[in-house]
Symmetry: C2
Subunit: 416 residues, 2 copies
């Protein structure tokens, strides 16, 4: 069999299993999630042993330390995966939620109800915890899932999935609701992307390159996640203490995440009052400022190019520019933003209102750090990723975003 046939074959097993899962009660799904958590904890030793194979292979292959760190599991991280599954068990079931309903003039009863997608494909990088997270979120939302993690994490993923499947089966559900995609190479990713009709939606999680290639090559519908060139705009009417705290938090709280700030815009009236303070504070925190001419007046600021203004650094770097007014800030954001998250710092209601209305990003923050764009922070309890597209879901995606809907219409012999 070709790899395409192999992938379609597991997708068809997933499809068959998804029919039962779609009708499973919340209680049955929560029992399975608890069993999955228990199984990971009970088999921690096997999972860590499998993970050591991946880590050794990565180290032998000369992978950089940050990649090896993402790949490495510890007892704490296994416990974290188990806790994540239990947290999902504690969340409401999105399936069956009535989104809207009415009785039509002719007496027909109309209900729009949440239903699972069916079969979800996940493509992700070398973070074995995503395997358990995605399995739990998909199971709770009634979706079968095909997992295609990085081949560098293949031993870890195989061990985790084996434990999860055993627990699912013991809990009385069909284990084929959680499966690994066969194959290690790019051909197996490609086969998943071409399985239109067999897979209902693909969710890539990872770097910009991975996401771009899935968006461009996939014939299966894709939910695009995560690239963030997030801006903080410090308005003329900003409280400068709040502005300083927000810029520092957004840039330095955690640099490797998509909701970290990568670009700073400052109103021209603040060139003397705020620019020196923010440059000094950023440099103090170890940040390299890539600035325009106004910023370059300060020692240590390096010249910014358009590539800098467009960059998602994911490091202790920030691009910075002075803008003549609010509209110029909005225009700069329109030109360079990845439409993930932008923040304004201002005490001026009109400026805040205009910024929130005119900036077309998944999240717009007023007087708050960009780091708040997050499913956990938004109170969603679990997050499969942050969508930066406009169709279906935009922003942090929780359980409801992992569903479609259908209309159920009940009559009594109604005809037109």
């Amino acid at each position: 069999m070709s790899i395409q046939q192999d992938v379609v074959a597991v997708a068809e097993l997933a499809r068959a299993a998804s029919h039962g899962l779609a009708l499973a009660t919340r209680a049955a799904k929560d029992v399975a999630l608890e069993a999955m958590a228990g199984s990971l904890l009970a088999h921690e030793a096997e999972i860590l042993a499998a993970n050591r194979e991946d880590v050794t292979r990565a180290e032998d292959g000369g992978a950089p330390p940050n990649i090896v760190d993402r790949l490495r599991l510890t007892p704490d991280r296994v416990a974290g995966m188990a806790q994540g599954l239990r947290d999902v068990a504690g969340l409401p079931d999105p399936v069956g939620e009535v989104v809207r309903g009415s009785t039509l003039a002719n007496g027909l009863e109309l209900r729009q109800v949440r239903v699972p997608f069916g079969v979800v494909g996940m493509i992700y990088e070398a973070r074995p915890n995503v395997t358990a997270d995605a399995a739990g979120i998909c199971l709770k939302s009634g979706n079968a899932v095909l997992l295609r993690g990085s081949s560098s994490a293949r031993s870890s993923n195989a061990a985790i999935v084996a434990e999860l499947r055993e627990a699912i089966e013991a809990a009385g559900l069909d284990p084929d609701v959680v499966q690994l995609v066969p194959g290690d190479g790019h051909d197996s990713v490609k086969a998943l992307m071409r399985a239109r009709g067999h897979v209902d939606v693909l969710i890539p999680r990872g770097g910009a390159g991975l996401i771009r290639s899935v968006v461009e090559e996939s014939t299966v519908p894709v939910i695009e996640t995560g690239v963030g060139n997030c801006h903080v705009y410090v308005d003329r009417a900003a409280d400068l203490d709040k502005a300083l705290a927000i810029v520092l938090n957004a840039k330095t709280h955690r640099t490797s995440v998509c909701n970290a700030a990568e670009s700073l815009l400052v109103h021209a009236d603040l060139v003397e009052t705020f620019v020196p303070r923010v440059v000094a504070a950023l440099q103090e925190a170890g940040v390299t400022v890539h600035g325009d001419q106004a910023f370059q007046a300060h020692d240590g600021v390096v010249a910014a190019t358009d590539d800098d203004h467009a960059a998602e650094y994911l490091s202790l770097d920030i691009s910075a520019a002075v803008v003549p007014d609010l509209d110029a800030a909005i225009a700069h954001i329109r030109r360079f933003s990845s439409q993930h998250t932008e923040a304004i710092v201002t005490e001026d209601v009109a400026a805040a209102r205009r910024f929130a209305a005119a900036v077309d990003s998944a999240a717009v923050l007023v007087n708050a750090s960009t780091r708040f764009t997050d499913g956990g922070e938004f109170g969603f309890g679990a997050e499969i990723g942050i969508s930066t597209q406009k169709l279906h879901a935009r922003g942090p995606m929780g359980l409801p975003e992992m569903t479609s809907t259908k209309y159920v219409v009940t009559g009594d012999g109604h005809v037109r």
Copy 2:
């Protein structure tokens, strides 16, 4: 300039115009919609003259009468387009609707708000009324629209769009929110499908071939509409009078539409009581029944193939099969349905509940004709199409389905 550059150029004009439209008040948009309606009525003569060019060209080219009929405008049809625009003016503005909102534990105020997509592309066949409908729905939902109708309707579409743009400008909005896609050939359709980043969403409206080609070739996100192989399942516990009325209505009320029934399934217990009645009634109404062996026992029933069971006839034909039980009906539907609309006729609550839960279609009807799956019938007031995909929108798409959302989060210097 290449056709791709031409298309990107109009898309960029649309983008620029969309920024203002996104911020326009409902009042400003309704004034424009009323002006658009008035302009079509005031220039009926010019529009009909342009349409005569298209009709003559189609007739000279030997187009079949039903195609010419779809293409032809009359004073009544122009009045219908104008009324459609006024109806849209009467509908609530989806932009700015707060979908959900909460105050987080840390005091951050979270609101998820409806916003326009930005730039919408419409690809459709030779129905000039779609030009006005789509322009109205897009304008009200705050979206700029690029219209690519059939080249056979080019004179009509050009005349309609010219009148609409004049009215939009007179009403104080940027006329570039409604534009025709340049070019007549497939290369211009292709250019629109490849304008990723310039066009936010493409909506094809038309036959199965058109929709399939857009779904497969487009790199712009697509909302798939309309192919309907709709089933009516007559359960063992059906009221047979209701069943007969529903089957006849679903099949014969209007055959050329996507919510017409194309497939009939009957429970085995009804082979003697219902099958003869429904065959006679369908044949009386001029319908050719393509049946399985049980149906072929009746005069005039022709043998059904798998292709028949999968067909969207859009004509006075129906496929028909007897199934041993409810689960067999569900399995048949899973195999052959296009997941648009399926109906069950039954007085048995458990059967209705199971059918509604297990059938994964955009609409599931209990004791009602498939013909009710329609934006107008559902009370949405305007419909841009019926989505048969699972992402973003499923079923009849009204104004809210023509929007995305964003999160607006307001704090007071909040950091993590």
